[in-house]
């Protein structure tokens, strides 16, 4: 298993760009990865909240503070640096928030999808470099996240559907984070909407929703059933054909007994 996983990287193009220490933007269907010298410095995806949302929606930074930073340092490609130098954020805080946003967007950008992958050499991002990450680490984390979601509750439909809360069983504990999420779920908002509203990374919200669905606190939408199992082997057909008539009376008694027991 592990051998196959390492043999098939998430994006062969990313591996190649890392090897040639490329600088530029890798554009994919669900997002963009920005590289400097073959390392990931930024990522964006329409499906995940950006650093601005994470900082402002959660109330850490007023919207005006963010806008001013973009106005003053955007052209220089150093918005992140400016936020720290102007005393709006601490160094560690910026790094953690930015890394969270980068891995979140990369999870979507590197999602298996058809469509072209393009690379524009030399393109940078206005946020500026905070802490570059190896492409290998980004790919590994993306794979780990996919597996984690499926190990919690293997129904990907809950990631995209509106979150519909279900009543908790008497005495069933619900964590503080999850309570906030359930309170914001109005039956129309999808996990991505809730992430933006609460200023949380999208993956974290997907994970919370899958955990809630697994605990029966959120509806799991109906998914198309898996493809039918292969037809029965010929020998079973033959066995049925050659078996004498089933004992109908025995089957009736069995059914009645089962119904009585249930």
């Amino acid at each position: 298993m592990t051998a196959t996983a390492t043999a098939t990287p998430v994006s062969p193009m990313l591996t190649r760009l890392a090897a040639e220490r490329a600088t530029g933007a890798l554009l994919r269907d669900h997002g963009t990865l920005y590289l400097v010298d073959g390392r990931v410095v930024h990522a964006e995806s329409p499906e995940s909240p950006g650093v601005d949302v994470l900082l402002t929606a959660a109330g850490r930074l007023p919207r005006e503070g963010w806008d001013e930073a973009v106005d003053r340092a955007g052209a220089l490609g150093a918005v992140g640096r400016f936020l720290v130098d102007s005393g709006r954020l601490h160094d560690g805080e910026l790094e953690i928030c930015h890394l969270g946003a980068v891995f979140d967007a990369a999870f979507f950008a590197l999602a298996p999808a058809g469509g072209p992958t393009r690379f524009r050499y030399g393109v940078g991002h206005w946020f500026g470099t905070v802490r570059p990450v190896d492409t290998g680490a980004v790919e590994r984390e993306t794979l780990r996240r996919r597996e984690l979601l499926d190990s919690v509750w293997p129904y990907p439909a809950v990631d995209r559907a509106p979150v519909v809360p279900r009543p908790a069983a008497p005495g069933q504990p619900v964590g503080a984070r999850q309570r906030t999420l359930l309170a914001a779920a109005d039956g129309f908002r999808t996990p991505a909407d809730l992430a933006r509203l609460l200023g949380r990374p999208a993956f974290h919200t997907f994970l919370d929703v899958r955990r809630l669905a697994a605990a029966g606190l959120v509806e799991t939408p109906y998914e198309a059933p898996p493809p039918p199992p292969p037809p029965v082997p010929a020998w079973i057909g033959e066995a049925v054909a050659t078996t004498p008539d089933p004992d109908i009376a025995l089957l009736r008694r069995l059914r009645d007994a089962l119904e009585a027991a249930l």
Partner: protein
């Protein structure tokens, strides 16, 4: 004022430290690691210890204990594993994880140092 890299370097300098990681316990991702080497895969440790932290946080809620977890100590035959939960201003739940060689480590000192690292990190 420190960034995550200096925080991890300081953690690695704790007497007896084998490895350290800064972990986001909602996703189980190590935001940064130091040391570890062959004997301790810190990314695996980060993801696994996330379950420990989540279980304890949930238990506290079930018990209705209106308190906070400062740190969690796991004592092995030859190692101490210390998990220090960081009080972050944002919504991110983070902990600092340090594995220590039991023969060389001073537990009280290590806890004290982790507390200081948290204070310096200012998140």
């Amino acid at each position: 004022m420190a960034n995550t890299e200096t925080a991890l370097k300081e953690a690695a300098q704790i007497e007896g430290a084998i490895g350290a990681a800064l972990v986001d316990y909602t996703s189980g991702m190590a935001l940064g690691t130091i040391g570890g080497g062959k004997e301790l895969d810190l990314n695996v440790a980060a993801a696994g210890n996330t379950d420990v932290v989540r279980a304890k946080v949930r238990t506290m809620e079930m018990l209705g204990l209106n308190d906070e977890i400062e740190d969690i100590l796991i004592t092995l035959g030859g190692q101490y594993h210390l998990l220090r939960l960081l009080k972050a201003r944002g919504s991110a739940g983070l902990f600092l994880y340090v594995a220590l060689d039991k023969n060389r480590a001073n537990l009280a000192m290590a806890r004290h140092q982790l507390k200081k690292i948290e204070a310096d990190l200012e998140i």
